[in-house]
Each structure stands twice: as structure tokens, then as C-alpha cells.
């Protein structure tokens, strides 16, 4: 009995304390809102938002609901996070490996990059890329075409739009290619395990991913044309590009600063991971006749990844949360659209802030779960 009480006591006290604290806050908020005549409720989500958003992945304008505005913000946050994570990872891995390069120039360049970008506050970097770099860009009418079809201007990056015919057949061909590649890979693994023969999976995959979509063009009736952006005059000195797709400079500046900043941390994770693998492993692998590429791919990386993944997960989470700094440069993310404009227009502070917090929490937890699953998958499986 005594033993049980000793065990349960602190836990019980913690639970009671947590309930009391939350209860107090809820109660306090209720009383204060009542006193000040503020209604609580989520009914506003279905009301017409009556404000427009600059950039949206789904169809949206002011005649849609606040909930739709929330989705617009959420998707924009996810967009910038996903692009940011991809660029940061690629850049981080390259820089991380470069920091271990025996080449003095590459090595030092990578080191200076890391020290420079990770030691300047992110908000300043965002302002730099947006205001300093933006001012340096030309006005639409002065922009030189890049490859004849891209235009990088102060009003954004204009790229040609794809106009597809029979897009679905093209997509089916890609899916078919991917499925075939997976089957071939499984087969190749079996062949290697049973007969010791190696099948050049990489070249076969490469071939398939090109040939099948190509066939869809030749015999599937798929065709693709481009719509190149064309200059349009709005007033004497005011121009834009019409047609094509325009990427707002806010998105570009935000993605650039987020990925350059986060890549420095990922680079350090990668360096730590590779250095964490014993030197003997590399030497042993070389001594059994593996090529340097195979050493990296089959021996070093699988072990290094176990060290790299957990801290890199943190960096992914940081990047996602840091994307909320978007509000400073007018990128319409969740914070700007929902916790900004929508909050102001409705005055529903508690409701909107709680939804926003819950959304970021869910986003972060989803990334964590995904990364933990991957981490488990590559962990040592003891037999």
C-alpha cells in the first residue's frame, strides 16, 4: 500500500495541477470575455471573408468563407515548408559533405557559408533577400529574358505555363514506369541474393522513366505546348507579364532565406553523422574491394543516417515553424492570412489563435511521425 502511494502520489498531484491550471485559464478567459461582451464560437468560419489573398493554391476570393481562407493560408505554409525542406536538405547534404572534403577551397568555402548564415538572425535574412535583393531586380519592362522564356523581375518570377493535352495518359505512363521500376528492383535484389548476379537497376530505371512518358507522347496522343509570358503595359511606366505562371517575389525570398538558413544546420548534422562512423568501417569496406562510391552508399551512409536523422527532424520542424515569419514580407501564409487578416476582421482572437496553434502542432507532429518512421526503418534491425 505504502509503495503504491509513493508511486501514485506525484503522478496524481501532477494531473491535478495540470487540470487546475487549465481549468483556471479557461474559467478566467470565460469570465473576462463575458465581462467584455465578447462572444465565443467558431460560427464565423462559415461566414464570407470579404478579403482577397495575393497567392493561393486553391480557388479563392473574398466571396469564399473564412474556413476557405484558413485552407489557403495552410496550403501556402505547407508549400513553402515543403519546398524549403527539399532545398535545405539537398544543399545541406552537399555542404555537409563538402566540409569534409580534402580540397582546401571547397572545405573552407563550405565552412564560411555555414558560419555566416547560421549566425545571422533569420528575420534579418528574410528582410535582406526581400528588400535588398528585390530592389536590385529590374522592373518588368527592363527584365532580360533567361533562356528566352523566364523573366525575373521585381514583381516576381514569370515562367512559361504548360498547356497539356491528354495529361492523364502522361501521368498514367509515369505511374506505370514507377511500378515497373519497383518490380524490377525487388526482382534484382532476389537475383543478387540467390545468384550473386548484379543487374544494372539504375540504368534500367533511368531508361524506363524516360521511355514510357516518351511513348505516351508518340502514340498516346499527349501533347504539350508552352505559353510564354508576354509583357503588358498598364500605364506609361507600369508593366506586368501576362500569360504563363508568376511566382511572387515574397515566395522566392522566403523559400531562399529559409532554406539557406536551415541548410547550415542540416550540413552540420550531416558532417557529424559521417564523422560519427568509425574510420575502421571505411577501411574495412575498402579492403574487401568495394569502390569508393559503394563504400559511401553501402557502408558509410546507412550508419551515418542513424546519427543524421533525429537532429535533422528538428531542423525540419524549425523550418516549418519559422515559415510563420512570412508575415513580415507579405507572403500569405497561415499567420498572415488567418491569424492576421481574418483575426482582425472577426476579432475572434482566442478561437483563431487556438486553431492556428493546433494547426502548427499537427503539422509538426506529422513531420515528427514521418521522420520517426523513417528513423526506425533505417535503425539497426537485430536478428
Amino acid at each position: 500500500m505504502n509503495f503504491k502511494l509513493k508511486d501514485l502520489g506525484p503522478q496524481l498531484i501532477t494531473v491535478i495541477a495540470v487540470v487546475l491550471i487549465f481549468g483556471f485559464f479557461t474559467y478566467n478567459a470565460q469570465i473576462n470575455m463575458e465581462n467584455r461582451g465578447i462572444d465565443f464560437g467558431y460560427g464565423f468560419l462559415s461566414q464570407e471573408s470579404s478579403f482577397d489573398v495575393q497567392f493561393s493554391l486553391i480557388e479563392y476570393d473574398g466571396s469564399h468563407s473564412y474556413f476557405r481562407a484558413y485552407l489557403v493560408g495552410l496550403l501556402n505554409t505547407i508549400l513553402v515548408s515543403v519546398i524549403g525542406i527539399i532545398i535545405a536538405t539537398v544543399l545541406g547534404v552537399i555542404v555537409g559533405i563538402a566540409r569534409l572534403s580534402p580540397n582546401f577551397l571547397i572545405n573552407k568555402f563550405a565552412a564560411y557559408y555555414v558560419e555566416f548564415f547560421r549566425n545571422i538572425p533569420l528575420l534579418l535574412q528574410i528582410f535582406f533577400w526581400y528588400f535588398a535583393a528585390l530592389r536590385a531586380l529590374p522592373l518588368p519592362q527592363d527584365a532580360e529574358a533567361i533562356f528566352g522564356v523566364f523573366f525575373l523581375t521585381i514583381k516576381g518570377l514569370y515562367v512559361p505555363a504548360f498547356i497539356w493535352q491528354n495529361l492523364n495518359i502522361f501521368l498514367y505512363s509515369i505511374i506505370a514506369a514507377v511500378i515497373t521500376i519497383v518490380i524490377i528492383r525487388i526482382h534484382a535484389k532476389k537475383v543478387q541474393e540467390n545468384q550473386g548476379k548484379q543487374i544494372p537497376v539504375f540504368y534500367i530505371s533511368l531508361g524506363l522513366i524516360f521511355i514510357l512518358p516518351l511513348l505516351s507522347f508518340l502514340i498516346g496522343g499527349v501533347s504539350l505546348s508552352f505559353e510564354v509570358p508576354a509583357l503588358k503595359q498598364l500605364a506609361t511606366t507600369s508593366f506586368i507579364y501576362e500569360g504563363g505562371v508568376s511566382l511572387p517575389p515574397e515566395l522566392i525570398a522566403l523559400t531562399l532565406s529559409l532554406s539557406l538558413y536551415t541548410a547550415t544546420f542540416i550540413a552540420e548534422c550531416v558532417r557529424a553523422g559521417i564523422q560519427g562512423v568509425g574510420k575502421g568501417q571505411k577501411e574495412a569496406a575498402a579492403s574487401i574491394g568495394l569502390t569508393p562510391n559503394q563504400v559511401l552508399k553501402l557502408v558509410i551512409m546507412p550508419q551515418a543516417l542513424r546519427i543524421i536523422i533525429p537532429p535533422t527532424t528538428n531542423q525540419y520542424l524549425n523550418l516549418t515553424k519559422n515559415s510563420s515569419l512570412a508575415a513580415a514580407i507579405a507572403y500569405p501564409d497561415l499567420v498572415l492570412v488567418f491569424a492576421g487578416t481574418a483575426l482582425m476582421q472577426t476579432g475572434k482572437a482566442i478561437e483563431i489563435v487556438s486553431i492556428t496553434m493546433f494547426t502548427y502542432l499537427s503539422l509538426s507532429i506529422s513531420i515528427s511521425i514521418l521522420m520517426n518512421w523513417y528513423n526506425k526503418k533505417i535503425a539497426i534491425q537485430e536478428k
Binding site: 481549468g23 495575393q54 530592389r135 511606366t237 513580415a328 472577426t346
Partner: protein, 346 residues
């Protein structure tokens, strides 16, 4: 659990009330905000993060502007010293939360009076200290001289969390023009982005455009278009539920406007005590007991006029002499062709 907590809270509140009954004056007891302000010794005032003419801090941290003067007037009335104000710069997004949560007691930050703000979110507007309307600024070199020349694809920079965002949509929709809204959290960033050429036009209240124009790298390159696309009555706001405090702020503002009407200035206020006009004598505290209703002494309005000046002086000092809007337009007294008209102080 909540039930007991509620009982406990009311018990504590009752004890507290019993103690305070003995010491406070009648009106101060009615107004928690007034009581707290007198206890703290300063008025807590929410202002903008820098809008010349309305609320702007100089290098030494001294705030000036007609919005600032409203808070100073309240401080002069309540505390006897117009300098006893603590200013809190707020973004458009933060302002109402700061007020409803009790961080500030007056929001005097070029805020538009609208039905939903007044009724919905626990706020009360006390009056109008500037009649404004939304306008558009463009570069002179663009050749645009009227909003009718706007075309599809125009990009417009503005602030989030303002009525501007909604008016902009109404305006462009009614004209059937497709536009790109670029909305920033802080005004400085809006100006910087527009100045850099990110947007073809910058839209906000016309007074704001005039004030921000002075911050551009070359103000002469920009013009404000003549059209006004909305009504924007700007005024101070207080929390709902403290009607005495609400009255103090309302009548501090009204005093400034009425003083101008009767020609009472900071310079001649003391002499006006011997005036023949009873309305003037009431305003300078030489007749009647007007302050008693708020729990203030009888010279509250005299202090406002002496320390802050009348509305005309405030306008001249902050907006006209700084070259922002030399012409008072609708913000002229009703007796001189404007629409400034306040109820009589009697």
C-alpha cells in the same frame, strides 16, 4: 470544481469591494480604469508604430501627433499633466487585442469606426478626431491621374488588419478589375516595397498616404489620386463596459474641438475665465460643475486647453505645419464649412 472556484472568487471580490468602499470617491468607484490610472500615475495609450502627423516618435522618443494629443488631453484632465502618458506602439493587427486584454486603456491609433468593430469585439468608439477616406498613391511617371485608368493585373500594396483590405476588394470588384493584393504587417514595409517598385499603387487612408509620402526616397515622384473610395472616420477607442472612462475620453476630445469653436487657445485660456459667454466660462471651469460627473475637479477642461491646446492648434502643429495635409477639408469646424460638430459641454 468550477462552482467552488466561482464562489471563492466572488468571496474574494466581495471582501476587496468592502475594503475599497471606504476610500474611493463616487465616480472613481464607478470606473475601474480611472481608478487604476490614478493609482499608476499615467495614462496607458496605444498608438501607431509611426505615422507622421498622427502618432510618431522622434529620435528622443517624444511622441507627437493628433492621435497622441487625445491621450495627452485625457492625461491632463485625469492626472493634471499632459506628459503622464505611456505610449505603446501597436501594429494594426495587435491593436484591438491590446485594448480588450487591458494592456492599454485608450486606443488612439488612426482607427476606423465601423459597425462590426463597435458592436462585435468588445470595443466602444468615443468619437471622431479625423474624417478620412481611402485613396490611392501612384508614381507620377506612370502617367496615371485617376483610378479610372487602372487596368487588369495592377498590384496594390497595403497593410493587413485594416478596413483598407476590404475596401480595396469592394473597389476593384465594383470596377471589374483583377488586381494583386500585397499585404504587409507593418506600414514601414508597405512603404519600402511600394517605393522599390513592387507595387503599382499604394492604398490606405488618404491622410496615411500623405504622411507616408514624406517617408519615400523621393516624395515628389509620387501623387495621391483625387478619388476617395471609402468613408474612414478615425477616432479613439476604449474597452466596452466602463462608461465613465468612455465619457472622460469622449469629452476630452470634444473639449478640444469645442474650445476651437469658441476661440479658446492654450495661450488665452486663463483670460477666458472672465469671459461674458457662459459657454466659454463652462469650458474653462469658471462656471458650473461639469467635472464632478466624471469624478474630476472643475478645471479638467482648462488643463486640456492649456497643456494640449484646442483641436485647431493640434491640427496646425501636427498636420498642417508639417506639410502633410495643409488643407483641413472636412476636418474644419462646422461653422467654417467642415463637418466637425460636437455636442455642447453643459
Amino acid at each position: 470544481m468550477f462552482k467552488y472556484l466561482k464562489q471563492l472568487t466572488s468571496l474574494v471580490a466581495m471582501v476587496a469591494v468592502l475594503f475599497t468602499f471606504t476610500t474611493e470617491t463616487m465616480a472613481a468607484k464607478k470606473s475601474k480604469t480611472l481608478k487604476n490610472t490614478q493609482k499608476k500615475g499615467f495614462v496607458r495609450c496605444g498608438v501607431s508604430q509611426g505615422l507622421p502627423g498622427f502618432s510618431n516618435a522622434d529620435a528622443a522618443g517624444n511622441w507627437t501627433g493628433i492621435d497622441v494629443d487625445v491621450c495627452r488631453a485625457v492625461a491632463a484632465a485625469v492626472l493634471g499633466d499632459a506628459n503622464k502618458v505611456k505610449f505603446t506602439p501597436l501594429s494594426a493587427k495587435e491593436r484591438f487585442t491590446a485594448l480588450t486584454s487591458g494592456e492599454i486603456d485608450i486606443l488612439s491609433r488612426n482607427t476606423t469606426w465601423t459597425l462590426s468593430r463597435d458592436a462585435d469585439i468588445g470595443l466602444t468608439f468615443v468619437g471622431v478626431n479625423f474624417y478620412d477616406g481611402q485613396g490611392f498613391m501612384v508614381r507620377k511617371s506612370s502617367g496615371i491621374t485617376s483610378t479610372s485608368q487602372f487596368k487588369d493585373g495592377i498590384s496594390a500594396c497595403t497593410n493587413i488588419g485594416t478596413t483598407t483590405e476590404l475596401n480595396m476588394r469592394d473597389f476593384f470588384n465594383s470596377k471589374g478589375i483583377k488586381y494583386e493584393p500585397v499585404a504587409f504587417e507593418k506600414a514601414d514595409e508597405v512603404v519600402a516595397a511600394y517605393d522599390a517598385g513592387r507595387c503599382d499603387t499604394y492604398t490606405t487612408d488618404k491622410s496615411g498616404l500623405a504622411a507616408q509620402r514624406t517617408k519615400m526616397s523621393n516624395p515628389d515622384e509620387h501623387i495621391v489620386l483625387p478619388e476617395t473610395v471609402s468613408k474612414e472616420p478615425l477616432g479613439p477607442v476604449v474597452r466596452q463596459g466602463d462608461s465613465v472612462w468612455e465619457d472622460i475620453v469622449r469629452w476630452s476630445l470634444n473639449t478640444m474641438i469645442e474650445a476651437e469653436e469658441y476661440g479658446i487657445t492654450s495661450a488665452n485660456a486663463d483670460m477666458m475665465k472672465t469671459s461674458d459667454n457662459p459657454a466659454i466660462k463652462r469650458l474653462v471651469g469658471a462656471e458650473g460643475e461639469l467635472g464632478a460627473a466624471f469624478g474630476l475637479d472643475n478645471e479638467w477642461s482648462l488643463r486640456i486647453i492649456k497643456q494640449v491646446g484646442n483641436y485647431g492648434e493640434s491640427y496646425k502643429r501636427n498636420i498642417a505645419d508639417t506639410g502633410i495635409l495643409p488643407d483641413r477639408g472636412p476636418n474644419e469646424l462646422w461653422t467654417k464649412g467642415g463637418i466637425l460638430y460636437v455636442p455642447p459641454a453643459r
